[in-house]
Point group: C2
Chain length 225, copies 2
DNA sequence: ATGTGTGAAGATTTTCACAGCA
DNA sequence: TGCTGTGAAAATCTTCACACAT
């Protein structure tokens, strides 16, 4: 049996494919039928050559001298990312951030479906958010088992994030997205991805300050002797 | 005049420095006075050698054979990241996500201060979130000018994100953090950093699915019947 | 002995340049 | 001619191994 493509697509590429997919959807809705790599790259905010390299991981999918067919490329990327199959997600920690995610309609069209919202606080249990009712933590194992949810999202305070991670893993969740500002350890076979909002702000601020420093090199940090 | 250090710290390193800083704060609060690179790395979820390499960008700041002094290292990183100087941030788009950010206390201790919350919807204007009152978009220029805010955060729907970006840039904001799922163009001198929550989920899901595919190579792509 | 600081090797990602096909 | 697909070069980031200070 031949290996038609190397089964490994670089992670950086996968992230960009998701962006291209969004742009293609918008383009298709706008009635466009073809795009060039230059145009698509501009709309996605990346370098054209890089975009072509990314797409090359999916095999040839454009027409030389012409460009890409919007609908075809959209389908191809959808297939690779697995957008078609709906994936159940459970969300733990229904504070502001959790509520924001539960309410965000954009996930539905990307193959994600929230199948359970959980919180430890009794006064949050029973609330309805984004069409779902918040359930107590006790119900977690049962819901994960019943819905075969494969993804868990943690939006709890940092202090309890690890214990929530453990519970999710034990319940059978295989992939975890962690918004709590703390690194999590998970058993082998479960992978954790982290999003740290304050780190993003910090990096942004540093780059801005660095840029200023380069432009007006005054008071160069004054090393403490 | 000599160049004591190359003024450029890799972006990846900056992101991790922010994480180390958080760990060091926790460690200091716990009464610890010294740490080794191994221990700090474990707490931050990174490789020890990488951590040392990261810190090497700040110049020598440990004691060989002993480790790092928690308080000293904390100060050094704070200095470099510019945590000391308070930076004004304005936030545009007070939906769920905007509210979550405005309410998150963690930013204050990292040198960020929200100095203005804005929304275009009349019924959101006047609400109080995280100790601030939501203001109409008309007030934006004035507030940015008065507070010298240097950072803008966009948590609006995608459709209006570009126009908000333009307004922020015109008002004098130099750094923008964009949560809207659309790439933004900004004038030179303004840098934009993007956080795309649905992309994070998509990457996580893909990696999970890829892992499964590798583990149990059944039904290679099997069209949905 | 112990753990930092760092040059060098290795892996990954980005960019370039151009061959090849419509 | 115009734009895709791709090897090769460049830049970047990570990991290793060990000299060196305490």
């Amino acid at each position: 049996m031949i290996q038609p493509r190397p089964r490994t697509i670089p992670e950086a590429t996968v992230a960009r494919l998701a962006v291209y997919l969004r742009v293609l959807t918008a383009l298709g809705d706008g009635g466009r039928s073809t795009v060039s790599s230059g145009e698509l790259a501009a709309a996605a905010g990346v370098n054209p050559a890089g975009l072509r390299k990314d797409l090359s991981h999916l095999g040839p999918c454009g027409v030389r001298g012409v460009g890409y067919e919007v609908a075809t490329l959209h389908d191809r990327i959808s297939r690779v990312l697995g957008v078609e199959r709906s994936r159940g997600c459970v969300l733990v920690g229904m504070g502001n951030l959790g509520s924001a995610l539960a309410d965000y309609a954009g996930f539905g069209t990307r193959g994600f479906e929230f199948v359970g919202l959980f919180d430890a606080a009794p006064d949050r249990v029973g609330q309805s958010i984004g069409g779902h009712t918040v359930q107590p933590m006790d119900a977690l194992d049962e819901v994960v088992a019943a819905t075969q949810a494969s993804i868990g999202v943690i939006t709890t305070p940092a202090e309890v994030a690890q214990s929530v991670c453990d519970r999710l893993a034990r319940a059978g969740v295989r992939s975890i997205l962690n918004f709590a500002p703390v690194p999590l350890a998970a058993p082998p076979g479960v992978d954790v991805r982290k999003v740290d909002l304050s780190v993003e702000l910090q990096v942004l601020a540093f780059l801005g300050q660095q840029r200023l420093g380069a432009a007006a090199p005054l008071a160069p940090v004054e090393e403490p002797a």
